[in-house]
């Protein structure tokens, strides 16, 4: 993975010194909260319901074991012994004291981490496919490009006070695991007819109160042109994005109101005009960054299907875990393992400091000391020998980290909701917990098959409910929590926005309603059909009837 040189190191240290000074000015009263707010937001510090919150960037979801141990230490020392992974490959600490945050940032800087641009109306932490570099279906590893974009976007002088926040996501595989179509810019590495690899550039995706899928603005962009092209998009957005209404300020609205054709001509014109003066990366710099992402020293191994089958037969739990949490690896004899942070009845994405330390140790013992964070709020060990999967599984069981539900109905994405978030209109965590308990049995979860439930505690949609196969949005009406159910959403290249199925449900009804939807699917599915396919084949009528017929 990427390692800081002296320049990167100095940069994050100076950033943290700058923030220390800002905090000092705030605590001395030289800055009012109103003046301090834009400054702290630039550094991932929110003021939430009960306390300040620090959001730390995990660029493109890649962590070293040393970094994960540091996060564990930070959670222990300055928080309540845990952290929370978000849907944007960040980690949040919910209980820091403002005066401690500069020390936390210094501590992060020591392990090449920071909180730069994890909030504010700027280019946010760049996310990527969590299986980058190990995926079987990969066209090219997107991580070097994500790192290049991370550096370019860090304190960009022109694009730090945009109309709204701006999210970029990147994938290099034939399957989109990074939800790129619901990002302001989605980048997909692909091969053209001549066999060259470049980017398909998509723009204008987003969730919130007006969910939209990104549209293609450039079908094929040579890789070497990515930074000036991004600069052109950002400049057009900075000038023409709406600033009169914060709900219409994202680039998706600009795409919608201007039309993709017109916007494309604006961007292409700007691109042509700026190329001459754009100071692009020297090729040597691209190579330098790429060299950090070469394959680790794999051994020459063979696949171990027979062994794994045998172990799975002897131990049902292992078999179930293998089926759900193991993904194919491009290197024979290796596997990619998802560690579910969705224990039955637990809080999605939460992990204790002790568990972080343990996972970091496992990554060193079984892998090459690397961990990935997924936008679905799980962790990944990317390089596990197949013949060691059983040992790893047993270790995970000992720490409550072996829930065999990756991609299944209890692998729920949920935002923090009313339990933490100042913007929430309803609780989301308790709904996720209740659902996970209702569908507890792993055998029946596997019978239901791949099904993604996503829950947001307000219209901002941090819990991605618009692209949940089953989406749940918590709202408040007359002082009571209500939950709106939508069906048929999906993130991925074949993305779709879920459709609200009918009147919303009260808290005590929502779990039953989801169960009704699932039962309807089970009754109607053809063999091998996953929930989404049944929904796409039949539409929402049968689900509506089942949900509302009795009323």
């Amino acid at each position: 993975m990427y390692q800081y040189d002296g320049f990167d190191q100095e940069f994050v240290r100076q950033r943290s010194a700058q923030f220390r000074d800002q905090v000092k000015r705030r605590l001395s009263g030289a800055l009012s909260e109103a003046e301090f707010k834009p400054l702290r937001l630039m550094n991932g510090v929110y003021l939430e319901l009960h306390a300040y919150l620090l959001r730390v960037a995990i660029p493109y979801g890649t962590l070293s074991s040393q970094q994960l141990k540091r996060l564990a230490m930070i959670g222990r020392k300055w928080d309540r012994g845990y952290g929370h992974f978000t849907t944007r490959q960040n980690i949040q600490f919910n209980w820091p004291k403002l005066e401690d945050i500069p020390d936390m940032l210094d501590s992060l800087a020591e392990v090449e981490m920071h909180a730069i641009q994890t909030s504010g109306a700027c280019i946010r932490n760049v996310t990527a496919d969590q299986f980058s570099g190990v995926a079987k279906d990969e066209i090219e590893d997107p991580r070097p490009w994500a790192e290049i974009i991370r550096q370019w976007s860090s304190l960009h002088p022109e694009f730090t006070f945009l109309p709204r926040k701006f999210k970029v996501s990147i994938t290099g595989s034939s399957e989109d695991r990074a939800a790129i179509k619901v990002h302001d810019i989605g980048l997909a590495l692909k091969k053209n007819d001549h066999g060259d690899i470049g980017f398909e550039v998509m723009v204008g995706g987003g969730q919130g109160r007006t969910p939209m899928l990104a549209q293609t603005i450039r079908d094929f962009l040579p890789k070497s042109e990515i930074l000036p092209y991004l600069e052109a998009i950002m400049r057009v957005y900075n000038q023409f994005g709406r600033r009169d209404n914060k709900y219409k300020a994202r680039i998706k609205i600009l795409v919608h109101e201007t039309g993709i054709e017109k916007l494309r001509s604006l961007v292409e014109a700007e691109y042509e005009a700026l190329r001459a003066s754009f100071i692009d990366l020297p090729q040597a710099e691209v190579s330098r960054i790429q060299n950090f992402f070469t394959a680790p020293p794999y051994q020459n191994l063979e696949d171990q299907e027979a062994l794994l089958n045998q172990q799975a037969q002897q131990n049902t739990g292992f078999g179930q875990w293998l089926q759900a949490n193991r993904t194919g690896h491009k290197q024979p004899g290796y596997a990619v393992v998802t560690i579910s942070l969705k224990p039955i009845g637990g809080i999605p994405g939460d992990i204790s400091s002790d568990q972080m330390d343990y996972v970091a140790d496992l990554s060193e013992r079984y892998g090459f000391g690397e961990i990935r964070v997924t936008h679905e709020q799980n962790l990944v060990l990317p390089d596990i020998r197949q013949d060691q999967l059983f040992d790893l599984y047993q270790d995970l069981v000992s720490q409550g980290l072996a829930t065999a539900n990756a991609g299944l109905i209890s692998d729920i994405i949920s935002c923090p909701g009313m339990d933490y978030c100042a913007l929430a209109t309803a609780r989301s965590i308790p709904i996720a917990q209740a659902l996970s308990r209702r569908f507890e049995d792993i055998t029946s979860q596997q019978n239901i098959g791949p099904l993604k439930i996503k829950i947001s505690g307000c219209i901002n949609a941090c819990g991605h409910h618009h692209v949940g196969h089953i989406g749940i949005l918590g709202l408040e009406r007359k002082g009571e929590e209500h939950y709106q159910l939508s069906l048929g959403g999906h993130a991925g290249f074949e993305a779709s926005i879920g459709k609200i199925v009918g009147p919303s449900f009260k808290e005590h009804q929502i779990v039953d309603a989801v169960e009704t939807v699932v039962q309807t699917y089970l009754d109607l599915r053809t063999e091998d059909e996953i929930f989404l396919d049944t929904y796409r084949r039949l539409g929402d009528t049968p689900f509506k009837e089942a949900l509302y017929a009795a009323a």
Partner: protein
């Protein structure tokens, strides 16, 4: 209000800000609004004294690019600290259209934005009346190196990394 010039510290105001209605002073250096610039351009270009223009942040620099030789100062508007359109205007004026005069940031300017503004080519800043200017000036040097190329022309971190190989200065 005080005026901070990047390399000089506090400076005295030497420009007269003319409203759209008052008669133009004979020979002083004046700053006019965009409406007056559009309506009275011929008169403005003929008079003695230097000319400055207040550029609304929704006007494209392309619209004035052929007249830049006549302008000695452009006042960029930051109506709120989070309205960042003028950063792009500054970059375009400097980098694309080669404007050499003074670029002045006016409106809601925060201390912690000075470095960004300077990188985009802004060289003069309106500060709130009681802001400690010396203290604010330190903000220019919060960072020794930056990743992006910008109107200030400083070498980027990537260029510095490959100084030997590429010969970039």
């Amino acid at each position: 209000m005080q005026l901070l010039k990047k390399d000089q510290g506090l400076i005295e105001e030497t420009w007269v800000h003319c409203t759209d209605l008052e008669p133009l002073p004979v020979s002083e250096n004046i700053i006019v609004g965009y409406g007056r610039w559009l309506n009275e351009q011929e008169t403005l270009l003929k008079r003695n004294g230097l000319l400055g223009l207040e550029l609304p942040n929704d006007v494209s620099p392309a619209d004035i690019s052929d007249k830049l030789d006549h302008l000695s100062l452009i006042l960029l508007d930051f109506p709120a600290f989070n309205d960042g359109r003028a950063y792009s205007q500054a970059q375009l004026l400097r980098n694309r259209y080669g404007f050499k005069g003074e670029l002045r940031a006016s409106g809601h300017v925060l201390r912690d934005q000075l470095a960004f503004m300077a990188r985009c080519g802004i060289d003069c800043f309106e500060l709130p009346l009681h802001a400690p200017a010396q203290e604010w000036s330190k903000a220019f040097s919060d960072f020794s190196n930056m990743y992006q190329g910008a109107a200030d022309g400083f070498a980027t971190i990537a260029q510095k990394r490959h100084l030997d190989q590429t010969g970039a200065e």
